[in-house]
């Protein structure tokens, strides 16, 4: 063990920056040791800003690898993480799909990698705007996933994520996702924290031995990742990944508490963030940047005299089943808004599928109305969200299924085809 070096210099400052730049600042504050990146819209400015930090000597000792593809991004990050360093990268849509094989390698090796995702819609047709199908379709890779609603939350969540991922009882990789362009390319005030304060919350890796389960060290020669027969421990290793996900929930809650104590910013219990749900009759589950605007919509519709509320889903993996059941017991009807698709599913988008599965078998929980909107970055206005809430209220009062409900899902604001 060595002492925390004083080589990273950052005083607390309030800056007006893009969401991507907030992600880059978070990586710097986290003192990541190896960065590997490949440009893709709308993630590009994350890696540009990090390049600037590295070139200006603001991240001493940090190695920045500029690779030739996303597959190599994650391969190099896996190599670096195995050797016991804190690593960071960022990508979007197609880039994440190209990494898919390596996502399994990272989770299988239990590497605490944090990756920012400026989410974008999958092609074809080409689309570069906000749509969370990219990150949600990586559901079964073993990565944890968080969604951010604001610029500040991107910075904060990346710091909290390292804390959870690197916990020796967890050791899992994690996505920190936010809507492409809507958060990645707009500018808002963000507090960048004092380096000492961040070091206090998230100390740099001070043990040269690295992780407890994997290392590349000539003093302790070991082989990792070799072939295992069906009669070997493969199934047990898989169970351990699942078990770590379930146990990570309490760590996420703890990290959010600690973060709030130190920095004064809280995000519900870390897993979900309720807004005016206590006396609500109907509620909306929503994630990403649309959740922030939905808070306004809730306020407006409440002014009209309807008791509506909302729940911001902050984590998709691990899925906060207990919290969602708790919410579903408070109200009679829950809308679940997906800015993503789960083709062929009977229950709307990926998150509404998950919510329905979570509630299955529990009595006296809310009915679910799956809603899909804003795909491929289509604008979702405040007025539209107010209408979604009003539709919920009406559906709850009359039992009348809202117009535009197709195969049980409300496809909100479809263009009219003449």
């Amino acid at each position: 063990m060595v002492e925390t070096p004083k080589d990273f210099i950052q005083k607390e400052e309030n800056v007006i920056i893009k969401g991507n730049v907030a992600a880059a600042y978070a990586a710097k504050s986290a003192r990541v040791q190896v960065i590997s990146a490949y440009p893709i819209t709308p993630q590009t400015t994350v890696v540009e800003k990090l390049s600037e930090f590295a070139d200006n000597g603001e991240m001493p000792g940090t190695q920045y690898i500029k690779v030739e593809s996303e597959h190599s991004v994650l391969a190099s990050i896996i190599g670096a993480s195995k050797a016991g360093t804190r690593t960071f990268t960022a990508t979007s849509g197609q880039g994440l799909f190209y990494m898919h094989e390596m996502l399994h390698w990272a989770a299988g090796a239990r590497l605490p990698i944090v990756m920012a995702i400026a989410s974008r819609g999958p092609a074809p047709p080409w689309n570069i705007w906000a749509d969370f199908t990219d990150v949600l379709s990586q559901r079964d890779t073993g990565w944890m996933s968080a969604f951010c609603s604001s610029h500040q939350e991107i910075y904060d969540e990346i710091l909290m994520s390292y804390k959870v991922c690197e916990d020796h009882n967890i050791l899992l990789p994690k996505f920190v996702a936010y809507g492409g362009f809507i958060l990645s390319h707009t500018s808002k005030p963000v507090i960048i924290e004092d380096q000492d304060k961040v070091d206090n919350f998230l100390p740099p890796l001070l043990d040269e031995e690295g992780w407890p389960h994997i290392w590349m060290d000539p003093k302790r020669p070991m082989m990792f990742g070799n072939l295992i027969m069906p009669s070997g421990f493969y199934q047990e290793f898989r169970l351990k990944i699942h078990d770590a996900h379930i146990r990570a929930k309490e760590k996420i809650i703890k990290a959010a508490q600690e973060f709030k104590q130190l920095f004064g910013r809280g995000y519900g219990n870390g897993l979900i963030q309720e807004y005016k749900m206590d006396d609500a009759e109907v509620g909306m589950i929503i994630y990403g940047d649309l959740a922030l605007q939905m808070e306004d919509a809730v306020d407006y519709v409440r002014e009209e005299g309807y008791k509506v509320g909302m729940v911001k889903l902050r984590h998709f993996r691990p899925f906060p089943t207990e919290d969602i059941i708790g919410v579903a017991k408070k109200v009679k009807l829950l809308g679940v808004v997906d800015r993503a698709t789960a083709f062929g599913s009977q229950t709307g988008g990926p998150v509404s599928c998950e919510v329905k599965a979570a509630l299955h078998g529990t009595k006296d929980t809310a009915n679910i109305l799956p809603i899909i909107n804003g795909l491929g970055g289509r604008e979702v206005t405040l007025e539209q969200q107010k209408n979604q809430l009003r539709k919920l209220v009406k559906f709850n009062e009359t039992g009348e299924v809202p117009k535009d409900t197709i195969h049980g899902t409300l496809w909100d604001c479809l263009l009219e085809v003449k």
């Binding site: 060595v2 070096p5 040791q33 190896v34 590997s36 001493p60 000792g61 940090t62 190695q63 690898i65 500029k66 690779v67 030739e68 593809s69 597959h71 190599s72 991004v73 391969a75 190099s76 990050i77 896996i78 190599g79 670096a80 993480s81 195995k82 050797a83 016991g84 360093t85 690593t87 094989e101 390596m102 390698w105 740099p204 890796l205 040269e208 290392w215 590349m216 060290d217 000539p218 302790r220 020669p221 070991m222 082989m223 990792f224 990742g225 070799n226 072939l227 295992i228 027969m229 070997g232 421990f233």
Partner: protein, 327 residues
């Protein structure tokens, strides 16, 4: 007895003698009890490479025979840090490891982290086919690693399917009438990246291989070493014939041993005399020892010999263009 690098290079006009090699190469890093086939060329390649590199080596192997022969979990034959990797990911993973060692050397100075050599050890499929993008990227970045291709000229691990490194006329399970195309010249592609060091080796010349790995270890940046590693079951020869077959590949001029340092090509000792066509054993003597060429047509045979002779002519021209060529 460990010979230091400098002393070593002064010996015998850059050529280590067998006696000295045996003295300094007693240590084994790829241990017995692994599950290589009898007469495996890969085993000889890795064993001698590691003798040259020593224990401060961290190895990445993408999908290949090496994933399997090192031992099923939890058995392990390598006595040095070793990690398995996805097929297309070898060069990039070694880049990441190399970067991590540099980052750790910064955080923990004087603890030897910067003395570790990162190495990729990949088959010809993992190099010339699925891995070539990552390899080319690593070479262009001059990633500090040694990338090794052990070339058994087909996908042996999955059951002898053709790769782009399979020679013309060879039977594989996906070229049942013999391969139409010629072998991809990977070392030339790597040399075209202008990396500091490219070398070819044959497991029949372990001292030459040993020297080339020693040299590669001493150079910073991206080094590429391509080793011909015959495969007894895949090529169809007896498991006691591996060395002979590899030596015939060299003596016929079919596999040429050379180094390219900073763009300058030098033929290695075993291949140097073969610029004179009369010194080259006819190719048929190499091919006739292998079942994979058992039903090669006369036309293919002639084409292969012509291709070989043409390759040598090209090398002669290339060498004559170099400043160091004896005029």
């Amino acid at each position: 007895m460990e010979l230091s690098g400098i002393v070593y290079w002064r010996l015998n006009n850059n050529m280590v003698k067998l006696k000295e090699a045996l003295e300094s190469c007693q240590e084994e890093y790829f241990l017995p009890g692994n599950s290589c086939c009898a007469g495996c060329g890969l085993e000889i390649a890795l064993r001698w490479a590691m003798k040259a590199l020593g224990p401060k080596t961290a190895l990445v192997t993408p999908a290949s025979c090496l994933n399997v022969v090192v031992g099923l979990w939890p058995k392990t034959a390598p006595n040095f840090p070793f990690t398995n990797m996805a097929f297309a990911a070898g060069a990039a993973a070694a880049t990441g490891m190399s970067a991590a060692f540099k980052a750790k050397a910064y955080r923990f100075p004087g603890r030897g982290w910067d003395e570790i050599t990162a190495i990729t050890f990949a088959g010809d499929g993992g190099t010339a086919d699925i891995g070539i993008q990552g390899l080319s990227g690593a070479a262009e970045r001059n990633s500090d690693q040694i990338y090794v291709c052990y070339d058994n000229e087909a996908y042996m691990n999955t059951g002898i399917q053709r790769s782009s490194s399979t020679p013309h006329g060879a039977w594989t399970s996906t070229t049942t009438k013999g391969k139409d195309r010629f072998k991809k010249n990977l070392p030339a592609i790597m040399a075209a990246h202008d990396i500091p060091y490219v070398a070819t080796c044959s497991i029949s010349e372990p001292l030459d291989l040993y020297e080339k790995f020693k040299k590669a270890k001493s150079i910073k940046g991206c080094k590429y070493i391509h080793i011909l590693a015959p495969c007894a079951p895949g090529w169809g020869f007896g498991s006691d014939e591996t060395i002979e077959i590899a030596r015939l590949a060299v003596k016929t001029g079919s596999w040429i041993l050379y180094e390219v340092e900073s763009g300058i090509m030098t033929l290695s000792k075993a291949s140097r005399t073969l610029l004179d066509p009369s010194k080259r054993i006819p190719l048929i003597e190499y091919l006739s020892r292998q079942k994979r060429f058992a039903s090669i047509s006369e036309k293919d045979l002639i084409e292969l010999q012509e291709y070989l002779d043409h390759t040598w002519k090209r090398i002669e021209v290339d060498l004559s263009c170099q400043d160091n060529y004896p005029k």
